[in-house]
């Protein structure tokens, strides 16, 4: 059995509200997009369940550019890429 790990998909807030919020109710909002968390085992199933979606696997920088351009996605990222993208839109809080 292959190792189970998490993947992250950035989807438009509108797309999330229309059809994905029941399945991913806690998806955080980043740069106007929602972040869906799933596993590598789920990935092929998601492609079957959402056959019209064009899953894109870009670099973190390319994903940021695509988000800034308002592209539809979904943009599938690793954890490290996701953190880079989240930090781009929401730099870490400073606490006192």
């Amino acid at each position: 059995m292959s190792k189970l790990y998490q993947l992250y998909a950035f989807v438009t807030a509108m797309g999330w509200a229309e059809s994905l919020s029941d399945r991913w109710p806690d998806a955080p909002l980043v740069g106007g997009y929602r972040v869906l968390v799933f596993t590598n085992a789920d990935y092929p199933l998601l492609k079957e369940q959402y056959p019209t979606a064009e899953f894109k696997e870009l670099t973190a920088e390319q994903t940021i550019s695509a988000i800034d351009a308002g592209e539809i996605g979904p943009f599938v990222c690793s954890l490290e890429q996701t953190k880079q993208i989240m930090n781009h839109y929401s730099p870490p809080d400073e606490i006192n």
Partner: protein, 190 residues
């Protein structure tokens, strides 16, 4: 008696089926996951809050181990994620029973560890580790959240019951914990 070689092969297969000594911990991702209490806990002065964790490299600045809703008390990492940072209102914080020196005590890079801290005054706590929507998420595996009042455990959530999944049930008290953005991939063998 089982042949030792055969046993080493079969053990990982049989333990999940028949039980055994496999223990799991949920490894938080440091980006979207934390443990949210199903109802807030009201802490009073001198309550002791305990949390165990598996040592490791923390990925975020100011990642929270414990914080109250008001953030009058918290136990976090420093900006470089290497040491513990303690809000003064959290009294007598300890790591493995040794007093934590604010900004000096290093975060263990391995092993099983327990932090504890006594509260100075009344506080509300709704999360274990960081609140949702924060950038202060912790990426370590945490378990055994406990609140002790006058020497008696009043809340205990082990946070390590893999079959329970996203909602972990209390073994003491009636407050459970829920992990937003949970997946099965969070579980690691302890």
């Amino acid at each position: 008696m089982l042949n030792p070689i055969l046993g080493s092969i079969l053990s990982p297969i049989l333990k999940p089926i028949f039980g055994g000594d496999i223990n799991y911990v949920a490894q938080l991702d440091g980006a979207t996951q934390s443990w949210q209490l199903t109802s807030p806990i009201t802490l009073i002065a001198n309550d002791v809050v305990e949390l165990s964790f598996v040592g490791g490299q923390v990925s975020n600045a100011f990642a929270m181990f414990l914080e109250s809703d008001s953030r009058n008390l918290y136990l976090s990492t420093t900006a470089d994620s290497l040491n513990f940072r303690v809000k003064a209102a959290f009294g007598t914080p300890t790591l493995n029973s040794q007093l934590i020196d604010n900004n000096v005590t290093p975060i263990p890079s391995s092993g099983n560890n327990t932090i504890s801290a006594a509260t100075v005054g009344e506080e509300i706590m709704s999360y274990v580790t960081s609140r949702s929507g924060s950038s202060l998420f912790l990426n370590l595996a945490v378990y055994n959240f406990r609140v002790i009042r006058s020497g008696a455990v009043i809340h205990e959530i082990p946070l390590n019951n893999k079959p329970q999944g996203a909602t972990q049930l209390a073994t003491v008290g009636n407050v459970n914990a829920f992990m937003p953005n949970y997946t099965e991939a969070v579980w690691k063998e302890l």
